[in-house]
Symmetry: none
Subunit: 209 residues, 4 copies
DNA sequence: AATGAATGAGGCTTCATTCAT
DNA sequence: GATGAATGAAGCCTCATTCAT
């Protein structure tokens, strides 16, 4: 769990019955759909409830306020993303660093690209102040996984792992986001991904492997 | 001017007299201050006017809606940033590509870092829907400048310039933003900048120079 | 029972079994505690049920609405208060009127003072519309008892009993409440009580004894 | 001014133009009417604005929240009441104490009786928590005036003025309120007022004049 | 008989925008 | 031109009450 969620943003109660769990899922789904369709500024509690097919009251039984809802949606999204990154990191333990990074880029890129509109919508919604806690929790988690992976590289040369990881992570995550913001797609996006791999590999090589 | 601004977002009239221009500046300044202090969601027209020392009515003389204000603030900011990038590009015409990229990173990084809170605040405020036009206009403009610069590189090898530029730009701009989001500062930020230079140089080298 | 309670406010069913009665008591207790802690405006049915350790559903089994609950709590309180007043009145039958009034003041004062926060909380909660019925029922009952007592005074001079009783009752009950509102306590409250006795005795004396 | 109003309850801005002042008056008037008609629990900001013939927005320009409105209404009422009490106190300086008290009772009683429904409605609305500040401010002010008056009594015998004032004030104010709560009126109320005068005079006499 | 999830009307409040002065 | 009081739609959220389990 990413949740080092600030108290104020915690969900009110975890869904315990099957029905409740379905309700919460419907709320999540509705939120994402609306975020995709109209953006954060048009997202109202009423509309979310309506689309989720529940009453506002019910929604407020699970989320103490709108913020908490947005927070939870992003939390779930980042949780899944982090899981995938971690899985990739585990999978590539002991391989050459270059291959690791390529795998990492692939995983991250594909996950983000699967539902590009959702990705875009959430990128935008996270901006809201307190969600920074989320971002940093995500960073901590992925950094750890990636650092561990790189440390196990078959061609590990002992150069500054902290700095390397940070650089790679910042570049990869940053580039992907920027690519989304610029609306790259299809050929262009694909080329960029390849170039990113080349660039990261070059970086690792240059660094003395 | 970056403006391929959607008609609706254009300021109602361009400030032409000295006094008017001073008013607009005060409004810009007030907006940025409030954005830094409380974020977009707390930004109200009344508060901006108050802090700018003008009446709401007057403010509406210059900006037909709140959106237009936010838009204009970001436009101005991106304009200046683009100018700096262009200047750097002009300045380094004909030099080795590696030096060009290093200069580019320096310029971009320093401009963003000068007033980190303003940078952060604006990064957040751009999220608003229609501002995408801005971002893409900025992209077009900087891409052109950078492409031109790279084309003049003393060690230009004729490899795909479009793709290279796109990659470098996306990586650099993306990494900087991500670094901001992660709250890097001081030593860490400085190291990242150096690594970014190394990475980009490695990329260019690998590409057949 | 005081109840000339408007039909709508009557509890749905009178608690008859031991367990039910315990439930009702728990609900009363919870209500009073919350009234004391947060006041009427913060009192919600959910909170009462929670604190009483029953479900809302159960609570609604005993009280058809929130009003009925508030009503019942006050009814019980006033019932007990009236009982004490009546007991005092019975006890002092046939004594000098001055002593009667002193005893009455003592009883009333002490009962109110025993749990000052409860008293205060209930004074506040009675404000609700329909509870006026309660107040007047209480008035009728105590007036009767006091009138009867005074009629039996050993120094009864036959002066207008109705008027005398009314005056004494209004003054005593009113003064006590006012004293509460002003937040008198300790020394001050004690002095006031003594003065009140003096005043009432003076009134009776002056009236031709 | 009674206002030692807790910051949170202060009006947002004092009406400065003629029009604004009329607006505020209309709001006051509307509030009182609704309080009389339906009681505090039915008082909604929308209804007040509607009846006052202004928009909610306007109302909120003068009162930061509902509480502040209720507060202000009571403040104004108590201000006027206090003024009358003070006037009476000034007027009767140097007279016999018994006459003073009779005058005081008359003033207080008549003021309260002028618009009995308003009196009753406000008695009820003051109960709301934070308005206690008001009550105590009123108490301080009237206590001072009455103490000063009694000190000037032509038959002042130097007995404990603090205690005497407190007793008289608590009894008079308390009895009047209680009388309202019991719904006395006409003959009954008039008799009570006379009896109250008799009682207070008796109290003063007994005390050694 | 008890439970507590679900409901949804309706309350409070904000704030972009207008327009009479 | 500038002002800022007034507007009112619309957002967020609560809570008394119901009813399927």
């Amino acid at each position: 769990m990413i949740s080092s969620a600030p108290q104020a943003l915690k969900p009110r109660k975890r869904p315990q019955q099957r029905r409740a769990s379905a309700t919460v899922d419907a709320i999540f789904e509705a939120t994402i759909q609306l975020l995709v369709k109209d953006g954060l500024s048009q997202l109202t509690t009423t509309r979310v409830a309506e689309r989720a097919g529940v009453s506002v009251g019910t929604m407020y039984q699970y989320f103490p306020h709108k913020q908490a809802l947005i927070y939870a949606v992003n939390e779930r999204y980042l949780d899944r993303l982090a899981e995938r990154v971690e899985a990739t990191c585990r999978e590539w333990q002991g391989n050459p660093a270059g291959d690791m990074v390529e795998a990492l880029i692939d995983t991250y890129w594909h996950t983000k690209t699967e539902k590009p509109d959702v990705t875009r919508a959430l990128y935008r919604s996270v901006v809201e102040m307190d969600n920074e806690a989320l971002i940093s929790a995500f960073a901590v988690r992925t950094d750890a996984a990636i650092t561990a992976m790189l440390a196990s590289a078959s061609d590990n040369d002992g150069s500054d792992a902290r700095s390397n990881t940070r650089t790679l992570v910042t570049v990869i995550f940053g580039a992907v986001r920027n690519s989304f913001e610029r609306g790259h797609s299809g050929e262009v996006a694909e080329d960029l991904r390849r170039q990113l791999v080349i660039m990261c590999r070059a970086y690792l090589d240059r660094h003395g492997r």
